[in-house]
């Protein structure tokens, strides 16, 4: 799809974009949860805040005094204690312990001013990353030549495995909306019933940062072997979390320019957190198992060299 985007960029010679000041409709803030728990031997955090108005880039107001816990299907309670307003955390008892078990179901249980909020998530399985390689591609239509990193891993047999792939180039997390890289059974989506595949090429390629310079020209992610490195993580996510990211991509990864002709209407992303009285809240709860692998871009990591 990035390539389609490039067509739109190419057509955008006549189009123009301006950042503008607009007045937003008035509305009441709602409670937002950022409750993504990873199976890692480190502190896990849940943030509960009140939404800021859209252009307000200050720290949102944290909701203090809530009782926050994650409970597994066997009744084990993982308490999350407030460390600063709205920030609740859990620390493993032993430094080597990770949160949770693959296949286990987890319930989020939050009490704010006596009102209960809850959600559920199942920790899915996650495959090992075999290797990371680089591939040379000649620049086209004026773009520079580039190397692209690819990770090699295979989806499990059996349908319904969803993954969120994160990557860091030289320690910098690729966190732009354009760089959100998710997969369903190794492919883009459940459509077509893919299963047990090596992750498809656009997802393998999705670990490369997508940087544009000040003239909106594409910056090659890797130029030549040397000191650059990449670190890749596969996080197992629930099918609901996969759908959450699909919606987030639609709302945040805006094509701009002519691409706006084919953008969909702004709409709210569904939350999987419910309140006892049906109060509208936003955010997501998910428990992910994680596998990671890092690699320095050396000559022997190149799979396809320039001709």
């Amino acid at each position: 799809m990035k390539k389609l985007l490039i067509i739109f960029l190419g057509l955008s010679i006549l189009a123009c974009e301006d950042d503008i000041n607009v007045e937003l409709p008035n509305a009441e803030p709602v409670i937002a949860f950022d409750a993504w728990i990873y199976r890692k031997a480190e502190k896990q955090t849940i943030r509960i805040t009140r939404t800021n108005t859209y252009f307000d880039g200050t720290e949102p107001e944290g909701i203090s005094g809530a009782s926050v816990a994650v409970v597994d299907g066997e009744g084990t309670i993982f308490p999350f204690n407030e460390e600063s307003p709205g920030v609740y955390s859990w620390l493993p008892a032993n430094a080597a312990d990770s949160f949770g078990t693959v296949g286990q179901t987890y319930f989020l249980d939050v009490l704010i001013d006596g009102k209960q909020y809850g959600s559920v998530s199942k920790m899915g399985r996650v495959p090992e990353i075999d290797s990371i390689t680089w591939r040379f591609e000649e620049g086209r239509f004026g773009d520079d030549d580039s190397y692209y990193a690819e990770f090699w891993a295979r989806d499990f047999e059996g349908m319904g495995d969803a993954y969120w792939i994160k990557s860091w180039k030289n320690g910098v997390y690729s966190n732009r909306p354009t760089e959100i890289n998710i997969s369903y059974d190794g492919a883009f989506s459940p459509d077509g019933n893919a299963d047990g595949l090596t992750f498809i090429q656009p997802i393998r390629d999705g670990i490369n940062p997508f940087d544009l310079d000040e003239n909106d020209e594409f910056i090659p992610p890797f130029v030549e072997p040397g000191e650059d490195s990449i670190y890749v993580e596969i996080n197992s996510i629930t099918p609901e979390a996969w759908f959450f990211w699909v919606q987030v991509i639609e709302q945040t990864d805006r094509p701009g320019g002519f691409g706006e002709l084919f953008a969909s209407s702004l709409a709210n992303v569904e939350s999987n957190i419910v309140s006892e009285d049906g109060e509208q809240v936003v955010g997501f709860f998910c428990v992910s198992a994680v596998k990671g692998l890092g690699r320095r871009f050396t000559e022997d990591a190149i799979r396809e060299k320039p001709e």
């Binding site: 390539k3 067509i7 006549l14 189009a15 974009e17 301006d18 950042d19 503008i20 000041n21 607009v22 937003l24 409709p25 509305a27 709602v30 937002a32 950022d34 943030r47 805040t49 939404t51 108005t53 859209y54 880039g57 200050t58 949102p60 239509f141 090699w152 997390y173 966190n175 732009r176 909306p177 959100i180 492919a187 459509d191 077509g192 019933n193 893919a194 595949l197 090596t198 498809i200 090429q201 699909v246 919606q247 987030v248 639609e250 709302q251 805006r254 701009g256 320019g257 002709l261 084919f262 953008a263 969909s264 209407s265 702004l266 709409a267 709210n268 992303v269 569904e270 509208q280 955010g283």
Partner: protein, 790 residues
């Protein structure tokens, strides 16, 4: 069948006591033999008459006597013929163009007072000659963009594909090219329409009061007729524009019996760029083209056959293996047959196909390939029975066979092949109709009709049984029933009554009113601002019910100053049921259970259309104004309250003007002022794992209006000399057209979007959110086009 028709033909003979005879025939253009559509045939002694149909045919039945028949067509010399009617007569005429300096400034090509006297209302027509003179973006004459200068017709914004009629969506328009539906009317994602103006003879947009012979879409019917081809002599038209180069060749095959036209257009920027861009020499492509072919043969006075074909394609390829392409193909065979003097028939058989291809991956180990297609085969018999001077009966039927191929897709990942294909779906749509055009008396005329349509989705295929959920969310699949080949998955049917009436207050004034009910069985699935080439058409099923539309319209029509000015005001109210909406995050491509992501809403649209047109003189043109509202109500969207559609425009004001200085220089200009369309703004933001997500706490849809849109375009035409130095007329004609689009350089907003900016957000920091306004054509665009004819 034939016996039945003969029997039917005999009925009026049996019931009419007085002996009567019929005069009929064809009215054609003397210069090239093209049938004249909508020419007036007037019996002077009686002050009444008829209008030629789309094949140029007329038939009038009268008591015996001596009459003078007048044949009129605006821009042509009126011809009068004296006849002595004592038996059935055939009178074919050819009208010559008026040889005045102003012949090119004819604004309409029909009877002068047709606007007032016809029962027809809610019709938008522009003569193709007029379309050619209007300033067009990049100088490329475009019939669909031209229609948008008429009242009641709008679009979601510049560059958007398709058009909206009286608050209808793009997918609610039926575009017919020589009776075959065209599923995607755009080249280059929406910037140009797919119809070559050199091959188009006539077009008519029905916005309401849709006759019973048409159906299948709720909002409008755009009936485009191709030229038949000059049957007298060779004619070549062509031109070089900024985007396209064009050529059209027409000539007789057998003089006055048979002719053909071949018209082709192609974008040529890629050819010019080829020496400089290596990729273009290695398989990359960026081009679009279309080819139109038509031929006809007149076997006898009573039989004529037309064959027409269209082929259009857009190609965008990064290299020989990767890219994106789409195109329409249509083929039509028509047979006009006169059963007798009063029973005219036409049998149409057509094929129409729309297909797109998407291909990515430059190695055989990693690839993705997707092809989607909709094709239609259809048979349409239609009969017009000219019963008497007061009644003209049209009846017939249609049978469509659809094949939907939503996805023939394969993916290859590291050598493993997966088949992503979805099963094809087959459906039959059929209809029968009858319509009578009746003149009750000199003042009152009626057109009433009834259509019955039927639709069946046929196996083999999966029938999805969906469960209920919170409105606005994906519905769960409770069961999948496999339906065998040939068995029905779902059927739908309905009655579609149509009625219009005209009451003539005086010679130059009439009031008209109409009602129509329409059913739409196939749906364009599109949840983006503008429709795009990947949008699929999907059939009604057990879950997806047909869309239903009703429209009431009323209008006052008045011509002033001896038909020099045409004016009208129309009011309309439309109601639609089961209009499509989509859940948030709807998965519309390669999704077999697509229906689970669709919502059904109700719609209403109402408005007023004002139209003033000056038909003659050096300065002519029209002013169009529409005041309108179009809204939807869908459970699960906007908290269940009414919300405006993305293409709702309160005010839509347009002026089109032409001025001819002399026989060589002329100018034209268009101005548009359109209210901003609605869009959705967020109210809040929140962060999940470092991504800033916009949120609308009011859960409202289309809650804000974009700034207003206005634009002025201008063009100057310089014609080559018409006469040689020695005074004899030149056969070869040419012209240069200079166009400036958006002359005062306004960056009109197309949309405003909200995002966190291009900069990477540091760990722990918060994004600098912003609103960005997009303008599609943000600057003035000059262009030059050269046209020739010989």
């Amino acid at each position: 069948m034939r016996k039945f028709l003969l029997l039917l033909a005999a009925i009026p003979l049996l019931i009419s006591a007085q002996e009567k005879y019929t005069v009929n025939g064809y009215v054609k253009d003397a210069a090239n033999g093209e049938a004249l559509i909508g020419a007036t045939v007037l019996i002077q002694e009686l002050g009444t008459g008829n209008i030629t149909n789309v094949y140029g045919f007329y038939s009038i039945t009268l008591p015996p006597g001596n009459y003078t028949i007048e044949f009129r067509y605006l821009g042509f010399v009126t011809q009068a013929k004296d006849i002595s009617l004592s038996q059935n007569m055939r009178v074919d005429v050819e009208l010559g163009e008026e040889q005045t300096q102003l012949q090119e400034v004819v604004v309409t090509a029909r009877a002068e007072d047709e606007n007032v006297t016809s029962t027809e209302m809610s019709v938008a027509e522009i003569d193709i000659q007029t379309v050619r003179k209007m300033p067009a973006i990049l100088g490329e004459v475009d019939i669909i963009k031209s229609l948008q200068l008429l009242p009641g017709v709008s679009s979601v914004g510049e560059g958007a594909s398709g058009f909206n009629v009286r608050g209808g969506s793009v997918g609610q328009n039926l575009i017919l090219l020589d009776e075959a539906p065209v599923y995607n009317s755009s080249h280059l994602l929406g910037f140009f329409s797919v119809f070559n103006p050199d091959a188009v003879k006539d077009m008519k947009l029905y916005k309401g009061a849709i006759p019973a012979q048409f159906g299948g879409r709720l909002a409008s019917i755009l009936d485009i007729r191709m030229k038949e081809g000059n049957n007298k002599e060779l004619e070549v038209n062509g031109g070089i524009g900024t985007v396209f180069s064009r050529i059209a060749v027409e000539a007789p095959i057998k003089k006055e019996k048979s002719s053909f036209i071949i018209a082709a257009r192609r974008s040529y920027a890629d050819i010019l760029a080829r020496p400089f861009v290596e990729e273009l020499r290695n398989g990359a492509a960026l081009n679009f083209y279309d080819l139109t072919l038509k031929t006809n043969y007149e076997f006898s006075d009573k039989n004529q056959i037309f064959l027409s074909g269209y082929f259009g394609q857009d190609n965008f390829k990064f290299d020989a293996q990767q890219g994106f392409s789409w195109g329409n193909r249509t083929a039509t065979v028509r047979w006009n047959h006169l059963f007798n003097d009063r029973l005219f028939s036409n049998f149409t058989f057509f094929f129409s196909d729309y297909e797109y291809n998407l291909e990515f991956g430059d190695t055989s180990r990693d690839k993705f390939k997707w092809n989607s297609d909709i094709n239609t085969l259809a048979l349409k018999p239609q009969f017009t029975y000219f019963i008497d001077q007061r009644n003209e009966l049209t009846f017939g039927g249609e049978v469509f066979s659809y094949t939907f191929e939503p996805a023939r897709a394969t993916g290859v990942s590291d050598g493993d092949v997966i088949d992503l294909s979805l099963p094809d779906r087959k459906a039959i749509e059929s209809a029968v109709y009858i319509n009578n055009d009746q003149k009750i008396n000199d003042k009152l005329s009626l057109q009433y009709g009834l259509r019955f349509s039927y639709f069946a989705l046929i196996g083999e295929g999966n029938k999805f049984i969906l469960g209920d959920t919170i409105p606005g969310r994906r519905r769960p699949i409770e069961d999948i029933i496999e339906v065998d080949k040939g068995e029905t998955i779902a059927t739908h049917h309905g009655w579609e009554p149509r009625l219009s009436l005209r009451y003539q207050i005086n010679r130059s004034t009439s009031v008209k009113a109409s009602y129509n009910r329409m059913l739409q069985y196939i749906h364009l699935i599109s949840n983006t601002t503008a429709s795009n080439p990947l949008d699929v058409w999907t059939p009604s099923s057990n879950n997806l019910k047909p869309q239903v539309g009703q429209q009431w319209a009323m209008g006052l029509f008045k011509n002033l100053n001896n038909n020099k000015y045409e004016t009208s005001v129309e009011f309309y109210y439309r109601e639609t049921d089961r209009q499509l909406e989509y859940i948030n995050g709807a998965d519309l491509l390669i999704n077999e259970a697509l229906e689970a992501d669709l919502l059904a809403g109700i719609g209403r649209a109402y408005g007023m259309e004002l139209y003033v047109k000056k038909l003659t003189g050096r300065l002519n043109g029209w002013v169009s104004y529409t005041l309108g509202r179009t809204e939807l109500q869908t459970t699960g969207i906007n908290q269940g309250d009414w919300y405006p559609t993305r293409y709702d425009q309160t005010h839509n004001f347009k002026v089109t003007a032409f001025y001819e200085f002399n026989d060589r220089w002329s100018i034209s200009s268009t101005f548009s002022y359109l209210s901003g369309t609605p869009t959705t703004f967020p109210t809040h933001r929140y962060e999940v794992q470092g991504i800033t997500i916009p949120h609308n706490s009011n859960d409202s849809r289309n809650n804000v209006r974009l700034p207003d849109y206005h634009r002025l375009d201008f063009s100057v035409t310089k014609k080559g000399r018409a006469i040689r130095k020695d005074g004899s007329p030149r056969k070869n004609r040419d012209e240069l057209v200079f166009t400036v689009y958006n002359i005062y350089n306004r960056a009109n907003p197309f949309s405003i979007y909200f995002w966190q900016g291009q900069d990477r957000v540091d760990a722990g920091a918060l994004a600098d959110t912003r609103a960005t306004q997009v303008s599609i054509f943000a600057s003035f665009i000059p262009s030059i086009t050269y046209n020739f004819k010989f």
